[in-house]
């Protein structure tokens, strides 16, 4: 117990140690997060009028970001599968970064949901009267929190073992890794069902949403990790082989192609049939009754998607420069497509045919940026702690001198 407390205390202290770049980065993130907190407190006082949401478009940027991030969170699974199932060793030493990312991202998801609630002070009602299994939202609550706990356990266990200088025992984490893989698929599927199950919203009421969701997550997640790993290997002593990055590239490549294919299927079904269902899709791609706020966004996303996919299939993307550009394009394209492109148009036109557009307010943007900053802050701290600990540079023994030496003032013998 004491050892665990020391571990937590060391983690806490370690997160304040770094060079000036680290401090600058952390300060900027903290300031952004605090600005978000400020905007949130205003929203808490005055209500959701501070956002651009209306009765017509009743979900906006918060749910859009939430949707995107759920996809990103499954990145961990994408990395874990090849290692544990196919024994692809390139990835082994990077898996932990994927899982840490999942932890940070799920926390962001939960924050976005909290930010979206009109009565956050009543969240306890979720525990007291839970409409399970009828409401898909309750499934999502279980899926997300379960995934958070699983990943926290896996990462926490591995890092704590390294800290204690012992070898992790497979039976304490391998079964959880397998559960987490299945669970990762469930979090997107359940999140997609959240929307798909609504008969009154034809734009969502389509079976292709869940597979598209998976495909885009399989692309955006590993793309994000490719970029993160390069930063990690530049600023820390952690070694990441190019092979690991190229394995990830292959995952992104295939996922992007499938994603694009599914997009074509969807667009064809909507526009060739040209039924009443097409109104939302028409609003998204071409505008409706002269309202076209989303048109530039979605075409940017389409262009970026196509560019990223083309780059990824070319051999040139084996070079890291090109690969990074492709990953960045894919991440942004999918953010637009899964966020603005999936959530907002379902509300335009309303079920009664009214066209009201949604424009996020500065408040809303500040809260979104704040949550992103907070998530990045968490992730930076996680990486900051895990790199030296996993490298064996910081262990319990080193902290208190040599092994088998009585710790002064503690009266405990270390193994």
């Amino acid at each position: 117990m004491k050892k665990y407390a020391t571990f937590l205390w060391d983690c806490w202290r370690l997160s304040f140690v770094g060079d000036w770049r680290y401090h600058l980065w952390m300060t900027i993130l903290t300031l952004l997060a605090l600005t978000g907190l400020y905007a949130y407190c205003q929203q808490f006082v005055y209500g959701l009028v501070t956002t651009g949401m209306t009765d017509q478009v009743s979900w906006g940027l918060y749910i859009a970001n939430f949707t995107y991030l759920v996809g990103l969170a499954a990145a961990a699974a994408m990395l874990v599968i090849p290692v544990y199932i196919y024994r692809n060793m390139h990835l082994h030493d990077v898996v932990i970064f994927g899982e840490l990312l999942a932890v940070a991202v799920i926390i962001m998801c939960l924050l976005f949901v909290m930010a979206d609630l009109g009565r956050p002070d009543r969240f306890m009602h979720l525990l007291w009267r839970f409409n399970f299994p009828i409401s898909m939202l309750t499934w999502d609550v279980i899926a997300l929190n379960g995934y958070l706990v699983l990943n926290l356990h896996i990462c926490g266990y591995l890092i704590y073992c390294a800290y204690c200088g012992r070898k992790p025992s497979p039976k304490f984490y391998v079964p959880f890794v397998f559960v987490a893989i299945v669970w990762a698929v469930s979090i997107h599927t359940v999140t997609a069902f959240l929307y798909v199950g609504l008969g009154g919203r034809p734009f969502w009421n389509s079976a292709i949403i869940a597979p598209r969701f998976l495909a885009s997550a399989f692309a955006a997640g590993p793309a994000f990790i490719i970029l993160t790993l390069q930063i990690v290997r530049r600023v820390t002593s952690h070694q990441v082989s190019d092979d690991a990055l190229l394995t990830l590239r292959r995952i992104v490549q295939v996922a992007m192609i499938i994603n694009l294919f599914l997009l074509v299927c969807e667009v064809f079904t909507e526009f060739y049939t040209d039924s009443a269902h097409v109104a939302s899709a028409r609003y998204l791609y071409f505008g409706l009754h002269g309202r076209n706020a989303l048109v530039p966004w979605i075409w940017t996303a389409v262009a970026m998607n196509v560019a990223a996919t083309s780059l990824l299939v070319l051999p040139a993307s084996r070079g890291l420069g090109v690969l990074n550009v492709a990953c960045l394009l894919a991440i942004v394209a999918i953010w637009i497509e899964k966020g603005m492109g999936l959530i907002v148009p379902a509300f335009v036109p309303t079920p009664l045919g009214e066209v009201v557009e949604y424009f996020p307010t500065v408040h809303e943007l500040a809260i979104c940026v704040g949550i992103w900053a907070f998530g990045l802050l968490l992730y930076t701290i996680f990486v900051r702690i895990s790199v030296p600990v996993l490298a064996g540079e910081l262990t319990y023994e080193k902290r208190f001198g040599k092994p088998n030496e009585a710790v002064p003032g503690e009266g405990v013998r270390l193994p």
């Binding site: 407190c41 209500g47 009765d55 979900w59 969240f123 079920p351 009664l352």
Partner: protein, 334 residues
């Protein structure tokens, strides 16, 4: 690595530690004040915004015993009475046995005057600023019944426009309500008489039900609702028209505080053309049962499959428009 240095036993370098301690102290103070500054908007919270222990632990409507209810209702009576400086008559009429309410609307007669819209706002204590309305009257193109060709914001000096017809839409009290299915906390449910209600004290404001409703019948309190004290309707019930709070959902309840005690909904009473018919569909002698049996009936979005308890019907002899009249105040149209 830097951190290795900082892990050295503290006694070995006292000055550094003291300086480090001072710097850490400063940083902690700066951090704490930054957080305090970020949270400063909270000082605008009024006492009503923070739930009391009693409110925090208030049970779900269906779990309350008779005593619990009395206690809660008394609290609400006092709070609402104090806020609006009036005597409040808060009741909780139960659904009647053998009654299932159904609403019919005559599309041949409705002239789109929006009197129902405003009578509803007055009856049900909706917020006036911003104004929340449960009924939306669509001005429809003749020759089409597609809501996407409708005009929601028509504003002529006189109605009806002879080239149009009018279709008011409000909650359809679906028999298979998607709004109830999706609510994660069961804050909204269907009563035995077919009315879907919301426990405003239980709703967490996730707006999932609003996304699920195919009739766009739900309204959310994006901010603290405002009702001038002299416009409050003091005859209210827990599940229908008592004043709502910020951050919760609301919707039409077929005026259950009136209809469960034998009166008609406010929108029906005010309608100058008699386009609205309301009653118990289980009673074969009721008007609605007669209309359903004998008239041409149209169910909006029947294909969505929610089985509405609200239907539209037509007069066989065509339209019976009354003399043109001035519409009710349309300025506050949301």
């Amino acid at each position: 690595m830097k951190h290795a240095e900082s892990q050295k036993p503290e006694s070995s370098k006292p000055e550094v530690t003291r300086r480090g301690f001072f710097a850490q102290g400063m940083a902690a103070v700066a951090g704490a004040s930054a957080v305090a500054a970020a949270m400063s908007p909270l000082r605008h919270l009024t006492s009503g915004d923070i739930p009391t222990l009693e409110e925090f632990f208030q049970k779900h409507y269906k779990e309350m015993t008779a005593e619990d209810k009395e206690q809660v209702f008394n609290r609400i009576r006092t709070a609402v009475g104090k806020r609006y400086r009036t005597e409040v008559n808060l009741a909780d009429p139960p659904p009647m046995d053998g009654v299932e309410f159904v609403y019919g609307l005559n599309l041949s007669r409705c002239i789109g005057c929006r009197k129902c819209v405003h009578a509803c706002v007055a009856e049900n204590n909706q917020s006036r600023a911003p104004e929340i309305q449960y009924i939306r009257v669509l001005e429809m193109e003749k020759g089409s019944i597609d809501v996407e060709t409708s005009d929601h914001h028509y504003d002529p000096p006189l109605v009806p426009n002879p080239d149009k017809y009018y279709m008011p839409v409000q909650c359809h009290q679906c028999a298979d309500p998607p709004c109830v299915k999706v609510c994660p906390v069961e804050a909204t449910w269907q009563e035995p008489d077919g009315i879907t209600v919301i426990d405003y004290d239980w709703c967490i404001g996730c707006r999932y039900c609003e996304a699920a409703c195919p009739y766009w019948a739900r309204r959310f309190n994006f901010t603290e609702p405002e009702i001038p004290a002299d416009q409050l309707n003091p005859n209210m019930s827990y599940l229908s028209n008592r004043p709502r709070q910020k951050g919760v959902m609301e919707k039409c309840t077929y005026c259950l505080h009136r209809t469960r005690v034998g009166r008609m909904p406010a929108c029906l009473e005010v309608c100058p053309t008699g386009s609205r018919k309301f009653g118990n569909v289980l009673d074969p002698d009721s008007e609605v049962a007669y209309i359903l049996k004998h008239k041409r009936v149209y169910v909006l979005k029947e294909e969505v499959g929610t089985i509405p308890r609200f239907f539209y019907y037509f007069d066989e002899r065509g339209s019976r428009y009354a003399e043109p009249i001035a519409p009710a105040d349309v300025g506050g149209d949301a």
